[in-house]
């Protein structure tokens, strides 16, 4: 099965996360267990508030689990590291830096010389087709372009694991489709392990080798669905019977959880 024959890259073991809030304790995750394999593309779907972002933040090292642990390459995660990059839904570009400076940001922190950082940054800016906007500030870019910069910035430091939290959630349908196929192209070229959160079931199926469905809060894994559709996947893929079958199945599973939240 896709990805399962390669080594485990990220191991998530019984992860529990509780938040202390003014209204009392909130259990965001209640024992998440699964593995992500080397170079695998995994998508996560689940109703709002089921702990998807929390899980991503824990893998990224921005948040500590209350119980359980996360291993990357067998090493326990204790904080953010250069082996894991994050792309946020709100782009999180530094508004006072140009596109080039944004992409160079992580490279400079790694101690690379200005020249080397610039070379690498330009390579990735080209990869996301923003070579004409190298000197622009984020406020001069559209949402789709901003997210491309954020992706280039994450790629530039060459993390082995790429964590993406609804990166295309704020974009219109056309831009989203385009960025999806660009992302797949670069994923095939650069070989990375991708952990991608989305609300969009079609997006999950078109991108992922496996789709993880989460229960409503407190979050746990409800089901993991193998997407046995070969790459390259295109818009036509969305019309194939297998795609529709998977979509129906995943959608009904997610919908049950939506309903359970509303009750």
């Amino acid at each position: 099965m896709a990805g399962n024959d390669s080594a485990v890259k990220v191991h998530i073991e019984n992860v529990v996360k509780k938040f202390n809030t003014r209204k009392g304790e909130v259990v965001a995750l209640n024992g998440a267990n699964f593995d992500i394999h080397e170079n695998e593309f995994v998508c996560v779907v689940g109703p709002s508030g089921c702990g998807k972002s929390t899980l991503l933040n824990i893998i990224g090292g921005l948040e500590e689990p209350t119980e359980g642990r996360v291993l990357v390459d067998g090493q326990e995660v204790t904080g953010p590291g250069p082996d894991r990059g994050i792309v946020f839904q709100q782009y999180a570009l530094f508004p006072w830096l140009t596109v080039l400076e944004n992409v160079k940001f992580g490279l400079k922190l790694q101690g690379k010389s200005d020249k080397e950082a610039e070379e690498i940054a330009l390579k990735y800016i080209k990869l996301v087709e923003l070579q004409d906007f190298v000197q622009s500030y984020p406020k001069e870019l559209s949402g789709g372009m901003k997210q491309r910069v954020a992706i280039a910035r994450a790629y530039a430091v060459n993390p082995k694991v790429l964590l993406m939290d609804e990166p295309f959630g704020a974009l219109d349908a056309q831009t989203r489709t385009q960025l999806q196929s660009e992302l797949l192209e670069t994923w095939e070229k650069e070989q990375k392990t991708c952990f991608f959160i989305t609300h969009d079931v079609e997006e999950a199926i078109i991108l992922a080798q496996r789709v993880i469905i989460m229960y409503a809060r407190p979050g746990r894994v409800k089901e993991i669905v193998d997407i046995d559709i070969p790459y390259p996947r295109t818009q036509e893929t969305k019309m194939t019977p297998r795609f529709l079958e998977l979509k129906n199945h995943i959608w009904s599973q997610v919908y049950q959880e939506y309903l359970s939240v509303r009750k």
């Binding site: 090292g61 250069p82 999180a92 530094f94 992580g106 922190l109 406020k139």
Partner: protein, 259 residues
């Protein structure tokens, strides 16, 4: 469908508006000095007072005394308020203790504590600068604190993920992200300094625009009084222009609503 009419005044260029505004102001001034000649000296008299004092150099001595006082008090306040604001944003215990003090003193008119400071520091330059420092510091520390507190956490997260240390985050994220607030604070601080200057100069000394106004009013030289007031207005506008220039220079990256 009604056609939208473009108002005729939208075609008048902005320099022409400035001229119209100035001309009207002078007309009003003339009218006022015609009606209450004992209070409002005429533009001509004020101009004469200006020429006379500018030539003797006396005016510039007063202006320099005031401007250097304001800039020193403001400058020290600026340098001190930045680290204090950061400490407040980062260490809750510090903020819990200090913020109530700041809020309490901030609402007291400086004139009220001027005498306390004079009793402590004497009537010289130090006490004048101290009064300005206190008032400017209080305004700026609050504004900068709010800016630091409001730095988008996602940006800090993004920086951490890219390998930033605490020090990197401070210099490469927090400082640039709060620059707009620091500049707003500078603007508020300068105008507060100017306001407080009057309180600081009211109690004596020999040089300063405040002194000039006070002495002149004692002799009923209303032309000099008005001259002093106008000079303060001009200084205020100059400060404002400088800060606006810095804002354009350093915070041009900010998202703004285009008109």
């Amino acid at each position: 469908m009604k056609e939208k009419k473009v108002p005729i005044w939208s075609k008048v260029p902005s320099w022409a508006w400035a001229l119209i505004s100035l001309a009207l102001a002078i007309a009003l001034w003339l009218a006022a000095s015609g009606t209450w000649p004992a209070v409002f000296a005429s533009p001509e008299k004020v101009l004469n007072a200006f020429i006379e004092r500018a030539q003797s150099g006396l005016l510039w001595e007063h202006v320099w005394a005031s401007v250097s006082r304001v800039l020193t008090g403001f400058g020290i306040a600026f340098v001190v308020s930045i680290p204090v604001a950061f400490l407040m944003a980062w260490y809750d215990p510090f903020r819990h203790v200090v913020e109530p003090w700041i809020q309490f003193i901030r609402n007291i008119p400086p004139l009220a504590y001027v005498f306390l400071i004079i009793a402590a520091l004497g009537i010289g330059q130090t006490s004048k600068i101290t009064v300005i420092f206190i008032a400017a510091f209080l305004v700026m520390v609050i504004t900068i604190y709010q800016g630091v507190k409001g730095v988008d956490v996602t940006l800090i997260k993004a920086a951490r993920v890219l390998g930033a240390t605490q020090k990197d985050i401070f210099f490469k994220v927090t400082i640039p992200a709060s620059t707009p607030f620091i500049l707003v604070a500078a603007r508020l601080g300068l105008s507060t300094s100017l306001t407080t200057l009057m309180a600081s100069e009211i109690v004596g000394g020999d040089k300063g625009i405040g002194m000039m106004i006070q002495q002149a009013s004692g002799y009923y030289q209303m032309d000099v009084v008005l001259l002093g007031i106008i000079m303060l207005g001009i200084i205020g506008i100059c400060f404002e222009k400088i800060v606006r220039f810095l804002e354009r220079r350093f915070t041009g990256w900010q998202e703004t609503i285009q008109q």
